[in-house]
């Protein structure tokens, strides 16, 4: 029809290239750098001339994979949260996920559970518990996005106070603190594999109904007149997005900002049509976290900066630049 229709593919291609570049750099750089030839050998033939490279690359593969799915999942559920709650300030942690996960993992650490699997399990339960509580309260009352958000804010701060108490009384304050800052040090490769399966399946399911997310932006009575029960879909989408982010948070700790800013950046670049927006956010979120992880590993010798700090440090200026450089259509950024 016209050149406009090619644009999305161009954006996807660019993001995919960036992503591939990120993966390559991620393999190559770190405390020991690996020559490019070895990387191709490893990727294509699963072998390396030097056995040390094999170990390094295997570790980096797991870490890069973890970075991608974490960023992708958080960004994806960020879009779903924003569109379902009809609020551009929403992020995947809005309904209590981070607070619940933080409190429960702090409890696990305080109770001396050593294995990261146990801490993850606690964190996952905490996240699910918190988000269920928020939903239950707002469903029992009258379900609305407004009620959900307010209940979420209240419960977030309620859990945060408990967390403060636990940290104050606990002897493992530093461990708790580290967990809270988020980390991509994944102990088991298998864990990442299952996360991929779940996140991709859940994302594919929501993508199938992407038009409902488009519809949710229409006038409430228009949606009703089309015969769509918007609350049914909102709850369904929020539950699925919550499961995605709870699973991720339980493994990596709280990596903030990415679930808020990547969806916005994606909207600015590719528009509001969810059929494109959802996969684009997925790709962009994963790519961004790969680069953030790269920076956190390579910025200073022998120090891994907490990934959560890097996402904000890198993400905020990038986002502001994007906002400044883009014509803002009327209505964008409003609550509606």
């Amino acid at each position: 029809m016209n050149s406009l229709n090619f644009k999305p593919y161009l954006f996807f291609a660019t993001a995919a290239l960036l992503c591939a570049g990120g993966v390559f750099l991620s393999f190559s750089l770190g405390q020991a750098s690996v020559p490019p030839g070895e990387i191709f050998n490893y990727i294509l033939f699963k072998q390396a001339a030097d056995p040390r490279y094999h170990v390094i690359l295997k570790m980096r593969l797991v870490r890069t994979a973890a970075a991608f799915i974490t960023g992708a999942g958080l960004a994806f559920s960020g879009v779903v949260y924003q569109s379902s709650l009809k609020n551009y300030l929403a992020d995947p942690f809005m309904l209590g996920i981070s607070a619940g996960a933080a409190l429960f993992s702090a409890l696990a650490i305080t109770l001396k559970f050593q294995s990261s699997f146990m801490i993850s399990t606690f964190a996952f339960c905490g996240a699910i518990f918190a988000v269920s509580a928020v939903m239950a309260v707002s469903i029992v009352k009258k379900f609305s996005s407004y009620n959900l958000i307010l209940t979420g804010i209240a419960l977030n701060s309620f859990f945060s106070s408990f967390l403060t108490i636990v940290m104050y009384l606990s002897k493992d304050m530093q461990n708790i603190f580290f967990w809270l800052m988020g980390s991509l040090d994944v102990k088991f490769a298998g864990q990442i594999f299952y996360t991929y399966i779940f996140v991709i399946a859940a994302a594919a399911y929501i993508l199938r109904y992407s038009y409902i997310l488009d519809l949710l932006k229409l006038n409430e009575k228009t949606i009703f007149s089309i015969g769509i029960d918007q609350n049914y879909y909102k709850i369904k989408f929020l539950i699925i997005a919550s499961l995605i982010s709870a699973l991720i948070v339980s493994q990596t700790g709280i990596i903030g900002f990415i679930g808020l800013i990547v969806p916005h950046a994606a909207r600015l670049i590719i528009g509001d049509l969810h059929r494109l927006l959802l996969p684009f956010s997925f790709l962009l979120g994963g790519t961004m976290l790969i680069y953030c992880d790269l920076i956190s590993r390579t910025a200073a010798d022998s120090i891994n900066f907490p990934i959560g700090i890097i996402t904000s440090l890198v993400g905020a200026p990038f986002f502001i630049a994007l906002l400044a450089g883009r014509r803002n259509p009327k209505g964008a950024g409003s609550n509606g």
Binding site: M1, L4, Y211, N219, T222, F224, G227, D272, S334
Partner: protein, 420 residues
Amino acid sequence: MDKIFNADAAADLKVRQNGAPAFYAAGLSYRFDGEKDDIVNGMNFEIEAGSFVSIVGPNGAGKSTVLNIMLGYNKNYGGRLEFFGKELSSCRPDELALKRAYIPQQSEEGLRLNAYEYLKLANASPLNTKDRDIDEILEKFNISHLKNHDISLMSGGEARLTQLAFALLRKPEALLLDEPVSYLDYKNQQVFFNILKKEHESRKITVVSILHDLDLAAYYSDKIMLVNDGRLLKFAPPVEVLNYKTLGSVFFAGASSLAAAQSEMQRESGRGNIHVICGGGSGEKIILKLLELNFNVTCGVLNAGDSDWRFCRANGAAMVEEEPYRPITPENYIKNIEYIKKSRAVVVCAFPLGGGNLANLKFIDEINETGPPEIICAGGNFNELDFTGGAALEYLDKIKKRAAVFNSMDEFAALIQKIN
């Protein structure tokens, strides 16, 4: 779709609807949760399938509430409301969705989709709306060029037409509109309603629309529902509803307004000129009578869009026209006096007088103390028609002192015959 509509139910509804009115209400009432008073109070009406109905009334009268009940959005109403023969409260939302569409009061603000992407959603899943249908309707509405335009960047008129296209892509049997043109300028109101009317006629859709503009309501509707204080005051064809007795009691505001294109046509023929001062439909019978008697009729000053203005235009009577909703300008005032001076007689009808059209009576100070022109003035009490706080009555007293007064069409006919 998780909730696939059941085809049997659709067939069932089709059978029942044969001959049934689109909406049938008996003792319809509604009360918001926690409120003491009914916002809709015992309404009875029957909206014929395929008719065009406007709901008019002041703010807070309950218009939107009634429309939302008919939409199925306000549930738990009291009394009965049948939609094509089936009790509305027993219809499922997806069942209703197949039969009626809705256009809200607001345009879809902040929607950052282009027209094509937006229209694709008309039947929920994009798979249900064919590209061909979209192209066809955009073409028909003359807005094909907007296909790739962002909804949020469109002008008010464009956005409204796109919303109408969205609603019609759903192939509804009934279309409900909540003040569809309130934010549009005069021209775009006409464009919107002309298209709506055409679609209404060609598709035989039942249209129910809340309107604030009484002229539009009069012009396009088959019937008008006049609503006030939650009650249905009148449900009848426009002529029976839009008269000053009925409306005055509800709105109590100066009905005059309007105004102006220029018409230079003036015919010198028949038995000479009679100038009629009227408005809001008060002049129709009189103008008709004068035309019957082979007089050349001129009118003024009328605001464009006024029902007498439309009547004059339809019958080829020359007018002094003012722009819609504007007070009479000095130029038009002078023009009107010129018409009057050329006339054999001036007829003053009983029409509502406000600040905007008061100047129409000032001619009395501009003409000679005795005719020509003669003056013929409607009798009776103008108190109810005076929205100027008495100024109009003073002029009317002056006019009546010099005028022959008539109290019926027969008397008028007798008076006008004497002019010869």
